[in-house]
C-alpha cells in the first residue's frame, strides 16, 4: 500500500476516535454573547459618556449639592485602561505591618483591645456570620439578599478554627438556593482566639472591581476611583463611607453608568471630612428593574485627617513592573506594561520557525527562549535583555525543546524536550549546568505535554511544572532538579484543573493557577492557589472570572506575579500583582 493510501486510511480512522463534547453549541453561543457585548460596548462608549454626564451631574453630599459636581467617566472607545489622573490621586500611607488590614468595623489594634476590654462589646463581632450580617445591614442593606456560608459546613468549621471565614451574599431570597445569584463574597478574620470577627474584604460578583484607590490608601476629597466592570449597561453607585461600630455614614456618593467586557471605569467623588480615621470606598450595582443589589465591592481606606497618626498596619506595595518580556510574531520583545506594545525587539524573525517560550532571567539581564516552532530541530537561545547577539545554549537536532528557564543564580538551565528519536511520545525535563555543559534528566514523563512554565525553587534544588496527560486531568509535578529523587504531584481543588505553576522567589511557596468551573459569566474562572513546603494547598489567593491563565511568572523583583491570559474567546492584557488580592496593577 502506498504512503498516500496508508495516510488517508490512518487519518480517517484516527479522526473517528475524536468525539467532541455535546455542549459545543452552547459554548459557541456563550462566546458570541460575550463578543457581542464587547463590540456593543465599543460602539456605544462615546454615547454613554454623554448619558453619564447627565446622570452624574448632581450629587448630594450631606444633603446639599457640591460646588464641584462629582462625575463618572467612561473610558475612551478604544478600551485602553483609564490612567488615574495625578490631581487628587490617593497617596499610599506609610506602613509597617498588615496584621490588621480590615474593612469593617475596627481598623486599629487599639480598637480591638478596647473591644476586648469593653463589657458591653458589640455581640455581633463574636461570631463570623453575625459580623457579616451586621456588615451587610449597615453597609449593604438590601431586603432581597441573604447571607449564606461560602463553604461546606465541615470546611467552614475547620476554617473558623483557623480564624478565617467567608460568606456569600446571594439574591433574590425568594428563589430556591440553587437559582440565586451571588452578589458579593465577604471575607472575615478573627483577631486572636477571643478577638472580634472583622470583615477583611468584600468582592463583588459580575466583574465589579475597584482597582484604585488600593486598600489602606490615605484619601482626600475629591477622590478619583478606578475600577472594572463587566456588563452591557450597568448603573454603578460609588460611596465613600465612614465606618465604625456605629451605623455606617455615607460622606459622599456618585452614580453613573458604565459598561463593557472587563472594561475600566473612572469616577471622581467629593466627600466631607470624616469624624473618624477610617472608612471604605464602596461600589455597588443595582438592578434597573427593582433596585435590588446585584454586586458590591469595597476597599478600606484612611482619611486624610488622620495623616498625622497613620494606621501602623497599612501595607506598602512595591511598584508594578514597567516592562515584561514576551514573544510576538515569532520574535522576542520587551513590552511596555503601560502601553501593552513592544518597546524593542530582541530577535529577528527566523526561517524554520519563530521564537517561543521566552523567559527573563532572575537578574533581568538576559532572556532565554526556544526557537523552531516545536519541530525536531528546536534549539534554545539566550539574548541580553537590553539587546545583543543571541547565544545558543542547547543546539538543535535532539528534539522539540521548549519551556527554557534559568535557575535563580543563572548557573543552570531547565527545559523540556520531546526527543524525536524516541517518537516524540515522552518528554524529558532536563537540567543543564551551563558552565560544565553537562545535563541530567530531572523527570522523564511519558505521553504528556507541559503546560505553562517551569519554575525553579530559590535554592535550585527543585522544579515545579504542570503536565497534561491526554484527556485525563493534568498533574502539578514537583521534581528534584538533581534527578536523584522521584516526583511529587498535588491534586487541584474539586472542579478545577491545573494550568501553570511557579515558585515564589526567595521562598518555599509555590503559586499555581487552576482553571475552575464557575457559575459566573463564561462558566469558568481562573484561581491562584499557594502551596506551603509540604506540597499541600495552603490558600486560594484570588479568582479571576473569564480569565484563562496559561502561564505564570514572577517579575525580576520577585514581587509582582505576571500571568498570560490565553483564553480561546477572551483576550486581555497581562496583569500583575504581588499576591495580595488588593494589589492589582497593569
Amino acid at each position: 500500500m502506498s504512503t498516500e493510501s496508508k495516510l488517508r486510511q490512518a487519518l480517517h480512522e484516527h479522526a473517528t476516535q475524536v468525539e467532541p463534547s455535546p455542549d459545543g453549541y452552547r459554548r459557541i453561543t456563550d462566546g458570541i454573547a460575550v463578543r457581542r457585548r464587547r463590540v456593543m460596548w465599543q460602539r456605544t462608549a462615546m454615547s454613554l459618556a454623554a448619558v453619564v454626564a447627565l446622570v452624574a451631574g448632581g450629587v448630594a453630599v450631606n444633603g446639599r449639592l457640591t460646588a464641584a459636581p462629582s462625575r463618572l467617566i467612561v473610558p475612551p472607545a478604544n478600551g485602553s485602561p483609564t490612567p488615574s489622573p495625578d490631581s487628587g490621586a490617593p497617596t499610599v500611607a506609610p506602613a509597617t505591618d498588615s496584621r490588621l488590614a480590615t474593612l469593617w468595623p475596627l481598623t486599629h489594634e487599639a480598637e480591638v483591645d478596647a473591644w476586648r476590654a469593653d463589657p458591653q462589646r458589640a455581640p455581633a463581632l463574636r461570631d463570623a456570620k453575625s459580623a457579616t450580617q451586621a456588615f451587610v445591614n449597615r453597609v449593604l442593606p438590601d431586603p432581597t439578599s441573604v447571607v449564606v456560608a461560602a463553604c461546606a459546613p465541615a470546611d467552614c468549621d475547620a476554617a473558623a478554627r483557623d480564624g478565617v471565614a467567608a460568606f456569600q451574599l446571594s439574591a433574590p431570597r425568594s428563589l430556591p438556593v440553587a437559582q440565586r445569584q451571588p452578589v458579593a463574597t465577604i471575607e472575615l478574620r478573627r483577631f486572636g482566639a477571643d478577638g472580634p470577627w472583622l470583615v477583611t474584604a468584600a468582592r463583588g460578583s459580575q466583574g465589579l472591581t475597584i482597582t484604585s484607590p488600593r486598600g489602606e490608601a490615605t484619601i482626600t476629597s475629591p477622590l478619583d476611583v478606578n475600577g472594572r466592570v463587566d456588563g452591557v449597561h450597568q448603573s454603578i453607585r460609588l460611596d465613600v463611607d465612614e465606618v465604625s461600630i456605629q451605623p455606617a455614614r455615607s460622606l459622599g456618593s456618585v452614580t453613573g453608568v458604565a459598561a463593557g467586557m472587563e472594561m475600566p471605569w473612572h469616577a471622581s467623588v467629593t466627600f466631607t471630612d470624616a469624624a473618624t480615621g477610617s472608612g471604605l470606598v464602596l461600589a455597588t450595582m443595582r438592578s434597573d428593574r427593582d433596585g435590588s443589589l446585584a454586586s458590591a465591592t469595597a476597599v478600606a481606606v484612611d482619611f486624610q485627617s488622620t495623616r498625622g497618626e497613620p494606621s501602623p498596619f497599612a501595607p506598602t506595595y512595591p511598584p508594578a513592573p514597567t516592562t515584561f518580556v514576551a514573544v510576538t510574531d515569532g520574535r522576542v520583545a520587551v513590552f511596555s506594561t503601560s502601553t501593552g506594545r513592544p518597546a524593542r525587539y530582541l530577535t529577528y524573525a527566523q526561517p524554520g520557525g519563530g521564537a517561543y517560550d521566552a523567559q527573563l532571567s532572575a537578574d533581568s539581564k538576559s532572556v532565554v527562549y526556544a526557537q523552531g516552532a516545536g519541530t525536531c530541530a528546536s534549539a534554545i537561545w539566550q539574548v541580553p535583555a537590553d539587546g545583543g547577539k543571541p547565544v545558543q545554549l542547547v543546539d538543535a537536532g535532539h528534539g522539540a525543546a521548549s519551556h527554557p528557564v534559568l535557575s535563580p543564580d543563572g548557573s543552570k538551565l531547565a527545559y523540556a524536550i520531546a526527543r524525536c528519536a524516541q517518537g516524540g511520545t515522552g518528554v524529558d525535563v532536563v537540567v543543564r549546568d551551563l558552565a560544565a555543559g553537562t545535563e541530567r534528566v530531572a523527570a522523564h514523563l511519558v505521553d504528556v505535554d507541559l503546560r505553562g512554565t517551569i519554575g525553579w525553587r530559590a535554592d535550585a534544588a527543585r522544579l515545579v511544572f504542570v503536565a497534561s496527560h491526554g484527556d485525563s486531568a493534568p498533574d502539578l509535578v514537583i521534581a528534584d532538579a538533581t534527578g536523584g529523587a522521584g516526583t511529587v504531584t498535588a491534586a487541584p481543588e474539586t472542579g478545577c484543573t491545573w494550568r501553570s505553576a511557579t515558585w515564589r522567589p526567595v521562598t518555599d511557596v509555590i503559586v499555581a493557577a487552576e482553571m475552575c468551573r464557575s457559575n459566573g459569566p463564561g462558566g469558568q474562572q481562573s484561581a491562584l492557589v499557594q502551596f506551603n513546603s509540604a506540597e499541600r494547598v495552603d490558600a486560594r489567593i484570588i479568582t479571576l472570572d473569564q480569565i484563562a491563565i496559561q502561564a505564570l511568572d514572577y517579575d525580576a523583583g520577585g514581587t509582582n506575579l505576571l500571568y498570560w491570559n490565553g483564553g480561546a474567546s477572551v483576550t486581555g492584557p497581562i496583569w500583575a500583582w504581588d499576591g495580595n488580592p488588593r494589589r492589582e496593577a497593569q
Binding site: T3, E4, K6, L7, R8, Q9, A10, L11, H12, E13, H14, A15, T16, Q17, V18, E19, P20, S21, G24, Y25, R27, I28, G31, I32, R35, R36, V39, G330, G353, G354, Y356, D357, A373, G374, T375, C376, G399, A400, S402, A416, A418, C420, G423, G424, T425, V427, D447, V448, D449, L450, S468, G470, D471, Q550, A568, S569
Partner: protein
C-alpha cells in the same frame, strides 16, 4: 425602530446559518483540528473560537459555502497559533476498533496507523497541514491553498515534501 425591525430577521438568519453549519461541520472540524493539534479539548476550543469569529464576520461572509471555507481557514490559523506553544504531539492510546476482525489483526492495524500518525506529527506544521487537508479533508489544491493562506504551488511543494519525509520515516522504522 425601522432599523431594529430590519435587524431582527437578519439576526435570525445568521443564527439559523450558524446552527446549520454547526450541525453539518462541527464534528469534522474538531477532528480536523485534532489531527493538527492532537488534543481534543484544545481542538474544540479552536473550532468554537472559529465559529464565534465566523458569526461576528457574517456580514462579510453571508454564504454557507464561503462560511465553510472561512471556518477551515480560521481553524488552520488558530491551530497553527496554538502549535507555536506546544511540543511535538503525543500519541493517543490505541483503542480497539469496534469492527476489528481479530485481536491480532486489530493490533497490527492500530500499530501501523499509530506509526503513520506519529510520522505525520513529526513533520513541520505547514507540511502536516497540507497533508491533513488533502487526505483527511479531501480538499482540492486550491481549497487547501485558501485554507492555509498560501499559493497552489506552495501546497504542491508542502504536500510533496511532507509525503516524501513520511515515506522515509515509515521505511526507516521497518
Amino acid at each position: 425602530m425601522a432599523t431594529e425591525r430590519a435587524q431582527r430577521p437578519r439576526a435570525a438568519a445568521v443564527d439559523s446559518a450558524l446552527s446549520a453549519l454547526y450541525a453539518a461541520h462541527y464534528r469534522s472540524l474538531v477532528r480536523l483540528a485534532a489531527l493538527l493539534l492532537d488534543d481534543t479539548g484544545t481542538s474544540e476550543e479552536v473550532v468554537q473560537d472559529a465559529y464565534i469569529r465566523m458569526h461576528l464576520a457574517w456580514r462579510r461572509i453571508r454564504d454557507e459555502d464561503k462560511a465553510l471555507a472561512y471556518l477551515r481557514t480560521t481553524v488552520v490559523n488558530l491551530a497553527r497559533s496554538r502549535m507555536r506553544r506546544r511540543l511535538v504531539a503525543r500519541k493517543h492510546a490505541p483503542r480497539p476498533m469496534p469492527d476489528a476482525p481479530s485481536a491480532e489483526y486489530g493490533a497490527e492495524q492500530q500499530a501501523e496507523r499509530a506509526a503513520v500518525v506519529a510520522a505525520l506529527r513529526r513533520l513541520p506544521a505547514r507540511q502536516r497541514e497540507a497533508l491533513v487537508l488533502r487526505y483527511y479533508g479531501d480538499l482540492s489544491e486550491s481549497e487547501i491553498a485558501t485554507a492555509m493562506g498560501v499559493s497552489n504551488g506552495a501546497v504542491k511543494s508542502y504536500a510533496h515534501r511532507g509525503l516524501a519525509a513520511m515515506t522515509t520515516m515509515l521505511e526507516s522504522e521497518r
